[in-house]
């Protein structure tokens, strides 16, 4: 480790320490809410995994098999998640960060920049890893009655090299991608083609040899042959799973000695260490070459001219209700959203996956389940769709007002009421939410062959859910506005964002419970939930308008 690299590590450590110290400046109530939120979310995840394992353990003969297979599948999913998140973080840190040009002005080597950014990418991805892996592993360990003192250490020694290996591979993938495809548009097109290919693979998925169709465990066991890839001996996720299984002596189906567990640990460690050799080589040659190529590409390409908005503008010119300023905002928001692939590609991925799943419900044979299970799947699908909608609402709708804050020189000085901006955001957010959610909820019910009356009941209620979620996002977005940032991720990570997450999830939990109970007294439940949702949507809006009126830019 060179002196400069140590200096860079020290700098990063100081920024992390200062970030934690700045937490002290927040009010006690704010800190308490944040801690409570993280603890509650962690406990909620743990409870979900724990009770799911307990449920499957009781579903003989397929349930217990599913639990062990889930361990392989979970680690595989973790590996993919870590790989992707490291690749994305590394791309942002290595090519888009303003810090790289700053460091390049100083006598810092490319390899030093590469490894400090790799460390950053690992730091970012390991947080999300901790948040998901700890509740899962704790629930798994408790379900299998593994010794409490030994088990956390075992997980730690296996998961550290696992995270490092995934980070190294993700970072290398990002560098290779930029080297091969220096243009952002070509990278996006390649990603979309890859996603399309994966979607086609999923559509072809059908259960094989489903022996018992009366239970979820029975149906799910039909998919085991399709997830056998997670046990592929070449996969690091498979080494972690086999190693932990062997060393905790819990595998009952095949003999795995203690030596086998140590073998998998050493395999993982040696691969993680070996990963630094190609990384060093890429850091010295490929990274600088790809960095300059990407920069040149941005300069060489012709500026994109907008030629297709004339008709769109004419439509807006012909409307004058409710007001010209509000319509100007609507027009501007639609244009800026449509021109930012980074924004709508996330929507396509989120809702596209749901669409694929719902279209494929018949292939998955969920419609042959008994009425109780079918309704349960419908409710889970519906609440799942709302959870995805909630994430859309938090990522796109909540930061909308804050993002306008940096343009206060336009909107703060314009002769218009603050409520106009707020109501425009609410209108836009609600219409897009309705358009995205209701067809999906209807499709899910239709593919599961749920009675039409119940599908219409659930879809109709969905309209009110959209109003409530958007109202909460817009209202709290105004109340906890962040005028200093232009970065949605930074805006949503504040106190207001945490409050929004808690309120969204609590509201959706109540909606889920009412949907499960709604086989009786549908009329009363519908009216109660519709009225409550309208209130939940409009009260934050009122608070938001009040906050905007008193705001200073």
């Amino acid at each position: 480790m060179t002196g400069r690299f140590r200096l860079l590590c020290g700098l990063k450590w100081t920024t992390v320490r200062n970030s934690f110290r700045s937490l002290r400046k927040r009010s006690t109530a704010e800190l308490f809410t944040l801690i409570f939120f993280f603890a509650a979310a962690g406990a909620g995840l743990f409870a979900f995994f724990f009770y799911s394992f307990r449920f499957f353990a009781s579903q003989e003969p397929f349930g217990p098999i599913l639990i062990d297979e889930t361990f392989f599948l979970f680690n595989f999913a973790l590996f993919v998640m870590l790989f992707i998140s490291s690749a994305v973080s590394a791309y942002t840190c290595l090519y888009r960060s303003g810090e790289v040009p700053f460091l390049l002005q100083h006598p810092v080597r490319w390899t030093e920049i590469y490894f400090i950014k790799l460390t950053e990418a690992l730091w970012y991805s390991s947080w999300s890893f901790l948040f998901v892996a700890v509740p899962f592993m704790a629930a798994y360990g408790m379900n299998k009655n593994i010794e409490a003192a030994y088990y956390p250490l075992l997980c730690f020694v296996f998961y550290v090299p696992f995270v490092v290996l995934a980070g190294i591979l993700g970072t290398l993938a990002a560098v290779f991608a930029v080297a091969l495809l220096p243009g952002r548009r070509s990278r996006l097109a390649t990603l979309l083609i890859l996603a399309g290919g994966l979607a086609l693979l999923f559509i072809r998925l059908e259960p094989q040899a489903v022996k018992e169709q009366g239970s979820i465990a029975g149906i799910m066991s039909g998919y085991l042959p399709h997830v056998a890839f997670a046990k592929n001996p070449w996969l690091p996720s498979s080494w972690v799973t086999r190693g932990i299984l062997a060393l905790s002596q819990i595998d009952t189906r095949e003999y795995l000695s203690r030596q086998t567990g140590v073998f998998y640990l050493l395999l993982l460690l040696s691969n993680a260490l070996f990963g630094f050799i190609p990384s060093y080589s890429a850091a010295g040659r490929l990274y600088p070459a790809s960095f300059f190529r990407a920069q040149d590409h941005a300069e060489i390409r012709k500026p994109k001219r907008i030629r297709y908005s004339k008709i769109f503008e004419k439509i807006f010119d012909s409307i004058s209700w409710p007001s010209r300023p509000a319509l100007a905002f609507l027009e501007k928001d639609l244009k800026t959203f449509a021109r930012d692939p980074a924004e709508w590609s996330q929507l396509i991925i989120f809702f596209g996956l749901l669409l694929l799943y719902f279209v494929n419900l018949k292939n998955l044979e969920f419609h042959v389940l008994k009425s109780f299970w079918k309704n349960l799947v419908f409710v889970l699908n519906t609440v799942g769709t709302y959870v995805v909608l909630s994430s859309f609402s938090m990522r796109f709708v909540y930061p909308m007002l804050s993002m306008e804050g940096t343009k206060a020189w336009i909107i703060g000085v314009a002769p218009m009421r603050p409520s106009s901006i707020l109501l425009e955001k609410f209108f836009l957010g609600t219409v897009i939410s309705l358009f995205l959610t209701l067809p999906l909820v209807f499709l899910s019910g239709w593919m599961l062959e749920i009675p039409l009356r119940r599908i219409l009941f659930t879809t109709g209620l969905g309209g009110f859910v959209c109003v409530a979620l958007t109202g909460l996002s817009v209202g709290l977005g105004a109340k906890f506005i962040n005028l200093k940032s232009n970065n949605p991720a930074e805006i949503i990570s504040g106190f207001g964002g945490s409050m929004l997450l808690v309120t969204h999830l609590s509201y959706l939990a109540v909606i889920g419970i009412f949907l499960l109970l709604s086989h009786e007294h549908q009329g009363i439940i519908f009216l109660t939930m519709a009225a409550a949702s309208l209130l939940i949507g409009t009260i934050p809006l009122k608070i938001g308008v009040h906050a905007l009126k008193r705001m200073e830019f």
Binding site: R339, W409, V413
Partner: protein
Amino acid sequence: MKGESLYMDPMVELRGIKKNYGLKEAVKGIDLEIRPGEIFTLVGPNGAGKTSTLKMMAGLLKPTSGTVRIGGFDILKNPMNAKELMSFVPDAPYVYEKLTPWELLRFTGKLYSMDIKAIQEYGRRLLKFFSLDHVDNVLIEEFSHGMRQKVILAAALLHNPKLFILDEPMVGLDPISIRSFKDFLKAKAREGMTVLFSTHTLSVAEELSDRIGIIDRGRLIAVGSLSDLQRKYQSKENLEQMFMKLVEKEEVRAGA
């Protein structure tokens, strides 16, 4: 009529405005009148309170005490009337990167409820003036800092404001654009537009301003034309030398 403006009122009228950020007093009571058609420049060291004062005039900050009247309208009591009269360009203006210059002009014109024909006519003229007509359909994200600055100035001028407030307006502009923008401001002032800007480039203040205000530690320590200031402080020096002496004197006064 409620909020009706008197024609002969000063365009900007500040009465004892103060601004506190917690315990820190950023602006400590400023009284000032600026006449219609006047070019007024605010100069002062970093952190002197220039931006806070300009933002209070633009209605982006609420004074802790005192009143701001624009064209006779109280900015807090009649914000809509006051805002219709003015435009404000901050020192680091953010802009909608995914809009083209033409679309940004359309957007701002509509915020001021301008007729689409007027937006077309005046917007095209401004784009031509700022040499942006050949890139009017290119996204702003593609532009250099200077080009962005030109787009921002064009958008701010679209509704033909009576009061134009600018915080460090020349930063990032090339010498040719600076020259034509200075001429443009002078011409607009002759037509009756009041121009109020802050700058660290004292030669620009000397060249353009009818009156100069020197602000330090939240106080307006000197106001007048360059010749007024030279007479008052019995100095034959240029603005830069006078500015340095006044600020040093204020430093001694504050330390005492």
